[in-house]
Amino acid sequence: MPEPLLEIKNLKVHFPTDDGLVKAVDGVNLTLYPGQTLGVVGESGSGKSVTWLTVMGLVTKKEAIIEGEILFRGQDLLKLPVDELRNIRGSKMGMVFQDPMSSLHPFFKVGDQIVEAIRAHQRMSKREAMDLAIDMLRRVGIPRPEERARQYPHEFSGGMRQRAMIAMALVLNPDVLIADEPTTALDVTVQAQILDLIDRLEQEFNAAVVIITHDLGVVAEHADDILVMYAGKPVEFGERRDIYYGAHHPYTWGLLQSIARLDEAERERLRPIRGLPPSLIFVPPGCAFHPRCPYAFDRCSKESPELIPENGHHASACFLPLADKERIFKEEVLQRS
């Protein structure tokens, strides 16, 4: 096993509000290795974004109660002073957000914004930094990068803006690239281009990549491992094949069954997850998913299931016996395809 790049140990992020404590992240354990692509999947409010915003130091102890450890190459990011954290964030870890228009500054030229990001971390002349920025724009597939670097974000199309954001995140050669719904705002053809680009860059830079999404379809071709989150907790973790060809958690089944599939033979009725995601202030007792789970029994509302590996490192937090999980997946979930 190579040295882990990032280890998250029992991370909890709770936001105090007037209405009560919002338990956005409630016990996440995770290890990320170099060259690994991790897909983090869940609905809005599952804590998938907050987990990674905390890793990036964009959610701090000022606004939230943070417990646990985030070890980057063995160093606990939560204990680092702000200026040391700033060194790591940006240069060792880069993040790309859903909406590239709101993450680029509208008043500054794209090239200048990348130059600023470089010079915040490295001593380099403006000219050298600009050369580097232009080179990076070329590598993410932006045609005529010299010209493009002198343009403003509004002169870029959505896909081009997202490429520019990726260029900015990767220009300092980070070890971890976190992409939070990187393609949700984009057309499918552009989505495919961006995901291919992330794949290619992962190999080129040997970075670990985290793709956060609500759509299991998006990461089917790109992630090595999948983490499914619900109400602030991981509910299933496994290799890609474990999840798509043998998921163990009823929530993952629900996500798979909700997708309108291009390859369905006839028009079949979708089987959505009933109800809505729970309030993170009043999380249901026991398993947080039990009010929406068609397979819930007595125990589910009383005890909280742990994320336990069942075979190898495929783990799920559910009380159903393994044999039942395998049977239900085969008979009810897979039958669609």
């Binding site: 291919d196 089917a220 798509y244 798979l256 395809s337």
Partner: protein, 354 residues
């Protein structure tokens, strides 16, 4: 397979039936003006550039294409929120292209719209009850005293709690807000609902709930849908026929299952091959058509076939000089291409059972 064949020939059998909506050669250009006092038109954005479309009662027509292909503009032309630059619009056999606002009124009752962003399309300062009740007040189809009861019935119908009558849109989640939009669209018992990206802002799990709701409502009220989206898998799931648009024109039209199995237009093929499939093995078998570059500007669209600068199959000079027209390739399948794709060009085995 035999079921498929029936489906394909359906449009031809329907000739005795009047389409609910018929578009003939619809064009919508937006002028680009320069100058402050003496404004002169220096060009046009060719948002919709010659679209013929028929929507029959009870069917769902899907309209799919990328950002800027003109699909939303077309919807707004049908609603007459935009005046068509050229072409004719028919509703139930009657032309309404040049109808005045007053004459449009009865028609507006029958054609309703659902929008993409359920937050931006609901007035944040009004309660849900008054938002859903608004159509009653405007069209006076229900007496004042009965509005509340009607609204609560609608709320129940779309899966909202009628007790939430006095709440505001911000108190609802995205999926629930979209249900409010659906309830409002249903208030006047329309015949046609134009849904413009109704689920693309929602989580996948919630998308499925809304799609099922729309399906149930269609069965219950015999609704006709024009369903607009950029996500081909969603469009294919809900539609009887799918029209693919590129730069203001329909480039291919066919039943969804046929499009998936045998796309003829290379653009359809590219769209199909880009759609993610939640099945890693199947996804790996898929042949990808990767499009270079962005959609060209609709101000000065490419000559000949508009897709030729990005098309992997384009042969010059034919594709850059002759504009292809929609031709029948299989019964029920129309495509506008000089060099169409062979059968099964994208999916070799395709998870479709034969």
């Amino acid at each position: 397979m035999s079921v498929e064949v029936n489906e394909r020939s359906e449009p031809e059998q329907r000739t005795d039936q009047t389409p609910l909506v018929k578009l003939v050669g619809i064009k919508k250009y937006f002028p680009i003006r320069r100058g402050i006092i003496f404004q002169r038109t220096v060009g046009n954005v060719h948002a919709v550039d010659g679209v013929d479309l028929e929507i029959y009662p009870g069917e769902t027509v899907g309209l799919v294409g990328e950002t800027g292909c003109g699909k939303s503009t077309l919807a707004r032309v049908i609603m007459k929120l935009f005046e068509a630059t050229e072409g004719q619009l028919f509703y139930d056999g009657q032309e309404y292209t040049r109808f005045s606002r007053r004459r449009m009124r009865p028609l507006r009752r029958e054609v309703q719209m659902i929008f993409q962003d359920p937050y931006a399309s609901l007035n944040a300062r009004k309660t849900v009850g008054s938002i859903i009740g608004e159509p009653f007040r405007i069209h006076r189809t229900v007496s004042k005293g009965k509005i509340k009861g009607e609204v609560q019935q609608l709320m129940e119908l779309v899966g909202l709690n009628p007790e939430h009558y006095n709440r505001y849109p911000h108190e609802f989640s995205g999926g629930q807000r979209q249900r409010i939009g659906v309830a409002r669209a249903l208030a006047l018992k329309p015949r046609l609902i134009i849904a413009d990206e109704p689920v693309s802002a929602l989580d996948v799990s919630i998308q499925a709930q809304i799609l099922n709701l729309l399906e149930d409502l269609q069965a219950e009220f015999k609704l006709t849908y024009l369903f607009i989206a950029h996500d081909l898998s969603v469009v294919k799931h809900v539609s009887d026929r799918v029209a693919v648009m590129y730069l203001g024109k329909v480039v291919e039209m066919a039943p969804g299952a046929m499009l998936y199995r045998n796309p003829k237009h290379p653009y359809t093929g590219a769209l199909l091959s880009a759609v993610p499939i939640p099945d890693p093995d199947l996804a790996a078998q898929k042949k990808r058509i990767i499009l270079e570059g962005d959609v060209p500007s609709p101000i000065d669209p490419p000559s000949g076939c508009r897709f030729h600068p990005r098309c992997p199959r384009a042969q010059l000079p034919k594709c850059s000089t002759d504009e292809p027209v929609l031709e029948v390739h299989h019964p029920g399948q129309l495509a506008a291409c000089h060099f169409p794709l062979e059968d099964r060009a994208i999916m070799e085995t395709a998870g479709v059972s034969e």
